[in-house]
């Protein structure tokens, strides 16, 4: 079994809106899988189904061989997710935030303490570990958010626009960290609106629009196929240059 994710005809309806439209794809173990698409393409919805917080309307998916619908508990232990919205509590300190989620993951309190210390060191937040997260900069919050996603040693890490809104230093740090995760043997699914980020990091790229995957393949293969030098060109070729002004029924908000 060499796939971290195998999705087959995954579909999600919100009322009449079809957010994800019968999507099938496979993510190889150990690769960085870039998922791109214009706003409203359905990337986050797809991700939320894979991380078991949203029930698919149809289709199925396996994560490391476990069925997301029938074995959600197994799947949850194997994936770490950084969503568009930060999953942190502003009034709590980094240690308290991580302890809370770590306990919910069932980590033994001694193991958890060590793990937290180690992760805070890694994301360079040891010095502020007892300050309320509400006082942190966006970059610090995102680093802590990434630490939270890695608490339980997941095999698959999913990052939904992890560099959105960060300063160049933080962006650099996050990108390097993603490569670092790959080098440790983890599988990464990454979404971004920054085509250069995808070009730099991704091994495989899937281009989504209007709920469907338009194209999927090795980054280099895609570029060759479309005679492009950059993923950006492939993206614009496939999704067009028109501005997307569709009205969405949802209010978007990030962070606090």
């Amino acid at each position: 079994m060499s796939y971290a994710v195998e999705a087959e005809n995954l579909t999600k309806y919100f009322g009449n809106l079809i957010a994800v439209d019968s999507v099938s794809f496979k993510v190889k173990k150990g690769e960085i899988f870039g998922l791109v698409g214009p706003n409203g393409a359905g990337k986050s919805t797809l991700i939320r189904m894979i991380c078991t917080v949203l029930r698919p309307s149809a289709g199925k998916a396996l994560v490391e061989g476990y069925d997301i619908i029938r074995q959600p508990q197994e799947v949850r232990k194997l994936i770490g997710v950084v969503q568009e919205k930060l999953i942190l509590y502003a009034p709590l300190t980094p240690v308290e935030n991580l302890e809370f989620f770590g306990k919910l993951y069932g980590l033994d309190s001694k193991v958890l303490k060590e793990r937290i210390a180690e992760l805070l060191e890694e994301v360079k937040l040891s010095a502020v570990k007892d300050k309320p997260v509400g006082t942190f900069s966006t970059g610090m919050r995102q680093r802590l958010n990434i630490a939270r996603a890695l608490l339980h040693d997941p095999k698959l890490v999913i990052l939904d626009e992890p560099t959105n809104g960060l300063d160049p230093q933080s962006v650099r740090w996050v990108r390097d960290y993603i490569v670092n995760l790959k080098n440790r043997g983890l599988t990464v699914i990454l979404t971004s609106h920054d085509m250069y980020e995808i070009d730099e990091l991704a091994d495989t790229v899937a281009i989504m629009d209007k709920g469907k995957i338009l194209e999927i393949g090795k980054k280099e293969d895609l570029k060759r196929k479309y005679g492009a030098t950059k993923i950006e060109d492939v993206f614009l070729e496939l999704t067009g240059r028109d501005l997307r002004d569709e009205i969405s029924g949802r209010l978007r908000r990030r962070g606090w």
Partner: protein, 380 residues
């Protein structure tokens, strides 16, 4: 140790820590009810037009003299439209009815009443429910008036001026010895109300806030059961409610001289069950919306009417039947009556067990609905 109950505890502790950290929320939770209590303490009691107040009669004397007086009493009481008279065969039954709030006064004609009346003056014992100051006054005044009327009739019948021969003296007595300030009757209702309301407001926040912020996804992505999430959050609200209840009670004692006559532990149990019953109801109501504002609106729509029909300001028995039926469908009325009976009237568990039982069943049923509903709504 790492089962659903442990997770429940972890979630509860997190919610409480978060709450404790945000001082503004902490203070408003306690200040608001105190302000409300002050306000209402001065506003009430005022008289309204209240009719058909149920009162009980206990006749322990089978003499014709007594029976005649009783018949006249019932006739006068009911024809004025102020009272509905219910006859009880034993004093303990009548007192039980008083404790349960089924009647607002018990008029006792003791053994030998007819005998005394035929030789001089006889005394009627009246026990008044002081739970509601407004009603307390009306009941007292009303009963007094009926006996004055009867005295006039009696003296005419005897051809003597009233108060010298064949006079009925009325001895009023409260259920609680000693005079009680009107506020003491209102206080338990306010305490129960504010604690329950605080629980509801906190709950609306606890759930919809996490969904809106996106942190709920973070909890849902851990292998924790939905039972632990829902119950953990509900228990956090319950504990918060109990703590605020304790603070409010202490402040009421210090500021307004409110006294506790009953068992504190029983009071806490009733409050706890009251909050849980409401929380379950609140989760069901808010599971249909995903943003905080709508959730708060729904909570408000649930709370506001309930506050006015649940016996805090106005006796439930005096409501039109359909409003009364509505009041009895929601848990606030059981919380308020149970809590008040224990706090002011020293009612034992045996007197409030039906309130406790209703709240318990209410909690269990609403959570049995709320947990699967929550599961369905979050993963929609």
């Amino acid at each position: 140790m790492k089962g659903p109950l442990y997770h429940l505890y972890v979630i509860m502790k997190k919610d409480l820590t978060e709450f404790y950290r945000v001082r503004a929320r902490l203070v408003s939770m306690i200040l608001l009810p105190i302000l409300l209590m002050l306000l209402f303490g001065y506003m009430f009691p005022s008289n309204g037009t209240i009719t058909h107040i149920p009162i009980a009669i206990v006749n322990q004397d089978q003499s014709t003299g007594a029976i005649n007086v009783i018949n006249s009493f019932i006739y006068t009481a009911e024809s004025s439209g102020t009272f509905n008279v219910i006859t009880y065969s034993s004093l303990s039954q009548a007192e039980q009815a008083l404790l349960e709030g089924k009647v607002y006064a018990v008029v006792i004609f003791r053994q030998g009443f007819g005998q005394e009346l035929s030789t001089g003056s006889a005394t009627v014992q009246v026990i008044v429910d002081q739970m509601n100051p407004t009603l307390d006054q009306i009941v007292t005044a009303g009963i007094q008036q009926i006996f004055s009327q009867l005295n006039v009739q009696l003296s005419i019948a005897h051809g003597f001026p009233a108060s010298s021969f064949g006079t009925i003296l009325v001895n009023f007595q409260g259920l609680i010895p000693g005079a009680l300030s009107s506020f003491e009757f209102l206080a338990p209702g306010f305490i129960a109300m504010s604690v329950v309301m605080g629980g509801l407001a906190g709950l609306a926040m606890a759930f919809s806030r996490e969904r809106e912020l996106g942190t709920m996804d973070g909890i849902l992505m851990t292998p924790v059961s939905r039972f632990s999430i829902v119950m953990g959050k509900a228990m956090a609200q319950a504990i918060r409610g109990i703590i605020s209840g304790i603070i409010i009670v202490i402040l009421s004692i210090l500021l307004f001289g409110v006294k506790i006559y009953g068992n504190v532990f029983l009071m806490a149990i009733i409050l706890l069950l009251g909050i849980l019953a409401f929380t379950g109801l609140g989760i069901i109501a808010t599971s249909f919306v995903s943003d905080q504002e709508s959730a708060q609106m729904i909570m408000l729509m649930l709370e506001m009417p309930m506050i006015f029909i649940s016996g805090i300001f106005y006796p439930v028995l005096q409501l039109p039947w359909w409003l009364r039926d509505i009041a009895y469908m929601f848990p606030l009325v059981y919380t308020v009556t149970g809590f008040r009976s224990v706090m002011v009237m020293n009612a034992p568990l045996s007197a409030v067990w039906n309130d406790v039982l209703v709240l318990l069943i209410y909690s269990i049923v609403t959570f049995a609905i709320a947990i699967p509903l929550f599961q369905r709504m979050v993963t929609k």
